[in-house]
Symmetry: C2
Subunit: 308 residues, 2 copies
């Protein structure tokens, strides 16, 4: 059995059982592909494709199972090449990180700063998008990993690495009545117009779930993807903002006060998501080691390839 034969089979399948089209994609001649497939079928002792007279129509049951296994085999072979090119290159290359604007703005900058200093040859790119987008990008190989606040609805082609916890805080104008209470409740919060993240962010659903399960209907005055924008509206006295604790400036948020709200909304976990079962590139591993040292991803890599 040859790798090419497996490639041919897979390509025929996703060319919609059109040998000619598959041959074009594979830079091979139509007869070559035809013969090679026949050879494989002969070797395996059964037909992989259903043929009506002179046309490929579909996979046989055996063909389906075999095409699946073939795809997995090819992925591993591809992975051999990726591993090689990963080791081959020195500390140069590309690293694309997909994440929500919140992480990009608050958690990432210090890490990125250290990273580009340590690995100046790596071209680091950060793509911003909502939860669904960043997942999509990683699956399509348009990004090497995503950083997202879970639990993300995620399929079995991705692996999530829990990095650290995140909790909500409330930003209110300095003289706001909420600031006087010792321990606020969801009910207290609900009394005021609320500014928070857009609905496509996981944090939004997280917050809303807390309100709804308490039987409350908050008055969402305004939603945005940018915490700095929210702060502007808070300063203007339009309402109070519920944001991730990472979004609070270190004493730089003048004109407002921060009220802890961890007990109201619980904690979420920030995850790094990568494609499952493939070799994690050296640059990605280095980055993750900086972003979440407790994962000890580098140490794992040394003993076993492609983390859990």
């Amino acid at each position: 059995m040859k790798l090419q034969q497996l490639r041919y089979v897979c390509e025929i399948v996703n060319a919609g059982f059109n040998l000619s089209r598959a041959a074009r994609v594979l830079h091979a001649s139509q007869p070559g592909v035809s013969r090679y497939v026949h050879l494989l079928e002969e070797e395996l002792g059964l037909p992989l494709f259903v043929r009506t007279k002179n046309r490929l129509v579909s996979l046989t049951p055996a063909g389906e199972a075999i095409a699946e296994a073939a795809k997995r085999a090819l992925r591993e072979v591809e992975s051999v090449q990726h591993i090689a090119s990963d080791f081959r290159g020195g500390d140069v290359g590309n690293l694309i990180i997909a994440t929500a604007p919140g992480h990009a703005r608050y958690s990432l900058p210090p890490v990125v700063e250290r990273y580009v200093k340590r690995y100046p040859g790596v071209r680091l790119r950060i793509r911003q998008g909502n939860s669904a987008q960043v997942v999509e990008w990683v699956m399509n190989k348009e990004a090497d990993c995503f950083i997202a606040t879970g639990p993300t609805e995620v399929n079995r082609d991705l692996t999530l690495l829990p990095c650290h916890d995140i909790h909500a805080v409330i930003l209110a104008p300095s003289a706001h009545p909420l600031g006087k209470k010792r321990r606020i409740t969801l009910h207290d919060v609900c009394a005021f117009p609320i500014i928070t993240y857009n609905a496509e962010f996981t944090f939004y659903s997280h917050i809303m779930r807390a309100f709804h399960s308490a039987g409350l209907q908050p008055d969402i005055l305004l939603s945005a993807s940018d915490a700095e924008l929210m702060k502007t509206y808070v300063r203007a006295g339009l309402g109070i903002a519920i944001v991730a604790h990472t979004a609070q400036g270190k004493g730089k948020d003048r004109g407002m006060r921060t009220i802890d709200a961890a007990h109201l909304f619980g904690t979420s976990v920030v995850h790094i998501g990568v494609r499952r079962g493939v070799h994690l590139g050296k640059h990605l591993v280095h980055f993750v080691e900086m972003f979440a040292p407790r994962l000890e991803l580098g140490a794992q890599q040394r003993t076993k390839s492609a983390g859990a």
Copy 2:
């Protein structure tokens, strides 16, 4: 890149980096293997093996990662062949089931009877052993699956399919004082000499854990792997037996009574264990469908190969 090259790499590794030995195993000439490996290294652009002058010594870091991926790729290719031979054969073949004597004797017979009637061409073999042995047999491909009472200490090369629950019953002589109580306690049970399974069976640990966590030290008079043997001793009045509920005869256990003990020892789950990530043979799927129809393994197979 050729599959053979990957085979060569893997074989060199488990021949202890001895090219000559690897070549012999692979039915190839030493020079052929040498050149082919060099070709691969050239293609990948980096050395896979550490060479001291004229001798292979070990894998480079890249080599280790690549050897792992290569092994996975080869396993998938092998799996293609297995799938083919699985579909090729009609309803003939072999099926080896490893299990503890208890399952072999009580749960399996009716299933086996139906199975051999439906698939008379399949040579069914049942190997009996303790928990560790049956796991070992499946991993070494000396058996297609095992049936065991969990939770088995199991590694990530195996998949466990939960089949059904099992609970303990107490077998006591007809006139035994325990039979008069309405709801017995662990303490009650401890007052009498106990007959149960050998220590190497999971059920034994399960029972003992219940006693120990209640701070009790039961008097184990006798342990055996065969429930029928235990019954003999119970009839002789030597003690009471704690056995799986599946071991009780349907009214045929003369001279003794059955006392329910589910509330004392809880329930365990009977699992079928198979090698992870490989195609499940048609015969095995058929058997599992009969043994545990609620798994709907056949339906899963039709859509996706090798169940979770």
